[in-house]
Structures are given as C-alpha cells and as structure tokens.
Symmetry: C2
Subunit: 246 residues, 2 copies
C-alpha cells in the first residue's frame, strides 16, 4: 500500500501551511499551466485522484461539471474536503471517498476527465493505475496530471550545489536508477517513487493513451517578477504536467 | 544555415577516430535500442537525415529496403559514404545527396521511415523539419531518431562534478533556457541547440505525429560489463531516442 504520509500529524501540520493549502489553486504556481491542459468541464464527469482538500473538485463543480468524485487515502485530507461549502449547488455534485489509489477500481467508461495533482509519484504500481484510468475514461476522454519531475526525484543528494563555473546547479545523478526515494519534506521519511520521464510516458502509451501534451513547468515572467525565488525552476523543473487522451 | 562543423578539418579528423566512425553501427552503444524502434525495413522507402558515413543507409539496404536516401550537409562525410561498397546490390539502392536539413524539401508521402541519428540538436528550425518529415511520411510511417538528451545539452558547465554527498553528479542548470550552446567537442566552437524534452515531444505532437516510444538511453548490464565507463549514463542520460508515427 502507498505510504499515507498525509495522515502523519507533523506532515499534515506542515502541509496545512503551504500556499497551495491555504489559498487553494491560486496558491499553486503551476495551476494556470495545468488548467490550460483541461478539456471543457461543463457537463463532464470527473475523477480527482489524490484530491486533498478538494480545491480542484469544488472548482470543477463551479465550472459546471456534472459530477466530481474526489479520492484520497488521507482521512485528515478528506475531513477538510468535507467541510463547508458542501451541500448547496454546485457543491452537491462533489463526492469524496477514501481510497488507496493502488487498489481503487474506477467504473468503466464513466469519466470525461481523470485528474491528479502531485500524487502519482507516491504510487508503487503506477502502471496498474494508468490501465485503470484508461478503462475508466470514455473514448476521447483525458487523463491530466501533474507529478514531481523525474529530475527532482532522481538525485542522491537533492539540494542545490555549485558547478565548476560557480553557478547554482542541481546535482543530478541516479536518474536511471528507478525506485524508492526517501526524503525529508515537512516530515522525515517521506517515501516517493522515482521513475524516468520516458517511463512515465511509455506507461501511458502502453495503456493506449495518446500523449497530447507534456509540460515541464516553468514560471512565467510575471510569476518570476512576483516570486523571484521561482527562478530555481529555470535551472531544474520540479513539476511535470501531462495530458493524455483515450 | 546549420553549422557544418563536420567539414572542419580538426573536427572531421577527431570524428574519424570515434568507435562509431570506425566500427559503424556496432560502435554505437545505443544502436540496439534505436534498432528496436525501427519498423520492418523490407521493401521500405527510407530517408536518413544526417547520414554521415552512410553506415545506416548501407545496413538498411542489406535489410531489404527498397530505396534509401542519405542526406548530409558535410561534403567530407558524403565522400566517405560514397566509397565502396557502392554499385553492387544491395548498395545500388542507396543514394546520397548533400543537403542542409533546414532547407531540404522531401517529397510528400514518399517514405515508410525517416531516420536520423544524432543530428537534430544541430538544427535551428527543428519545427520546420518535423513538419517536412510528417508530410514526407506515408500514413502509418515512422520518424525514428536519436538526439542529444536535453539533460546533456542544458548545463552552463557541462562537466561531471561532486554533490554535497561526495558523489558524482551532473551539474544541471539552465534547463529551461532554450537556445544556442557552444561546446568544445573534437573542435572548439561546436554550435548546438538546447531544447527541453517537452519541446521536442510537443513539436512532434503539433505536427500530428503520435509519440510511439521515448527512450532515455541507458546501457544494458552486458554493455556495462564490457564498457564500465558507460556507468555515467546511469547518472545522466546523454541520448534521447524517439519513435513517432504519422
């Protein structure tokens, strides 16, 4: 089973302080780029894998989605998601369910969109999930997700260093050594899974999903002006966004 | 126009000493992985963009290709390619032509395979070439190429360094800063073009070619046993191989 670090008290407390927790989608700098990959949501049936606080689920309902199912392994996350606004339109079209994404079975041919934000790098069996997603999509349906970029997850010492020219650099190694990575982020011992970019793409292709777009996220000039610290992302992308089509 | 470094005397002399120049396809460790991406060649019409010494063209003729057109910007390369074996079957089905790939216009709907080995990172207008390739392929035809991996072309100081844990690392930076890179490889001032991996894939998608496979090349255990120095490739891939389908 996937590690459920989000129910760790220290991790959850730290996570609650992140801009993306406090401000929702507007607090996630990659959101405009991820949003640009989405199909029309009006009338769409949507599954959100790793829905967290439910920010995306609620937003999708506001866009006119017919039905939004949010899944998360974390009880604490779902308690936040279930908090008001809840029972009034459009939020009455949102349903949350606790689920381990490695064992979840989605109904077949039931979604125009399967969405996942920053969750898939925790999964041991990504291939199984992707096959499941493919079966759950209607023909023409989209799987749109963000995942930690393989360049971010790969290194043995994932901290900025200096190159021989004195410039900041990301000390890339172990890129081809796929598997477990243990990091200390908000809490010690967070377990993630490193896969190469090619592996992620080929898993989709093998499941007969067509790659419609790949985005190695970088801040816009406007975002850089407002948040200069995002210039790190010009040296080494931290996030990979993908749109794939059944 | 693309830099024609291959007609530089010093560069050409150095290039002639490389295993892949002296031993051909067998001297290129990525060749088995690239070969695995190829469609059946018997009866196929093939264009090779950046054919160099013509190793691939001759091999494709030996596999029963109907016709193989090899293009290269370098006069010196083509002189080597034109050397015997030449006029006897199957090599009489191979034709070489000097061409700048940025201005070359391939005939429409004329090839089952367009192939290119380690050439595309020299081109300024890759998008134009990709559109050209797409138009030249028959429906179902393949564009199979290798290119220097964006991780290899990106850094401001592309030499192995040490990370904070003392391990060898590739000092990645400037990944999102696409454009010219000048390196000293065999000769000073070799001009290449850095593009992100997403850019390369999206150029194909925008030209209505479907990504069929992406390979970030790594040596096999057998290759590592024979050439231990290839273990660098486990830390940072140098080569990207792609198969795309019209």
């Amino acid at each position: 089973m996937t590690q459920n670090i989000y129910d760790d008290d220290a991790f959850f407390a730290g996570y609650a302080q992140l801009p993306r927790s406090q401000r929702g989608l507007a607090g996630a700098p990659e959101w405009p780029a991820l949003q640009a990959l989405l199909p029309p949501l009006a009338g769409a049936r949507i599954a959100d894998l790793g829905c967290g606080y439910g920010w995306f689920c609620r937003w999708a309902a506001e866009q006119g989605a017919a039905r939004v199912l949010g899944f998360d392994v974390s009880q604490k996350m779902l308690e936040r998601a279930e908090a008001p606004p809840r029972d009034n339109p459009p939020y009455d079209r949102v349903f949350y369910q606790r689920a381990d994404l490695e064992t979840l079975r989605l109904p077949s041919l039931s979604f125009e969109l399967v969405y996942s934000s920053l969750t898939l790098h925790y999964l041991d069996d990504l291939a199984g999930l992707v096959r499941n997603v493919r079966a759950a999509l209607v023909p023409g349906g989209r799987f749109v997700f963000s995942i930690e970029h393989p360049l971010f997850t790969a290194p043995s010492a994932p901290q900025w260093a200096r190159g021989l020219d004195g410039r900041r650099c990301w000390p890339l190694n172990d890129y081809q050594r796929e598997g477990e990575r243990i990091t200390d982020w908000l809490a010690p011992g967070v377990r993630k899974r490193h896969r190469t970019l090619a592996t992620v793409l080929n898993l989709l292709i093998d499941a007969e999903l067509a790659i419609a777009r790949a985005v190695e996220w970088a801040p816009t000039p406007q975002q850089l002006a407002q948040q200069p610290e995002l210039d790190e992302e010009l040296d080494r992308p931290m996030l990979l966004l993908v749109s794939a089509q059944r």
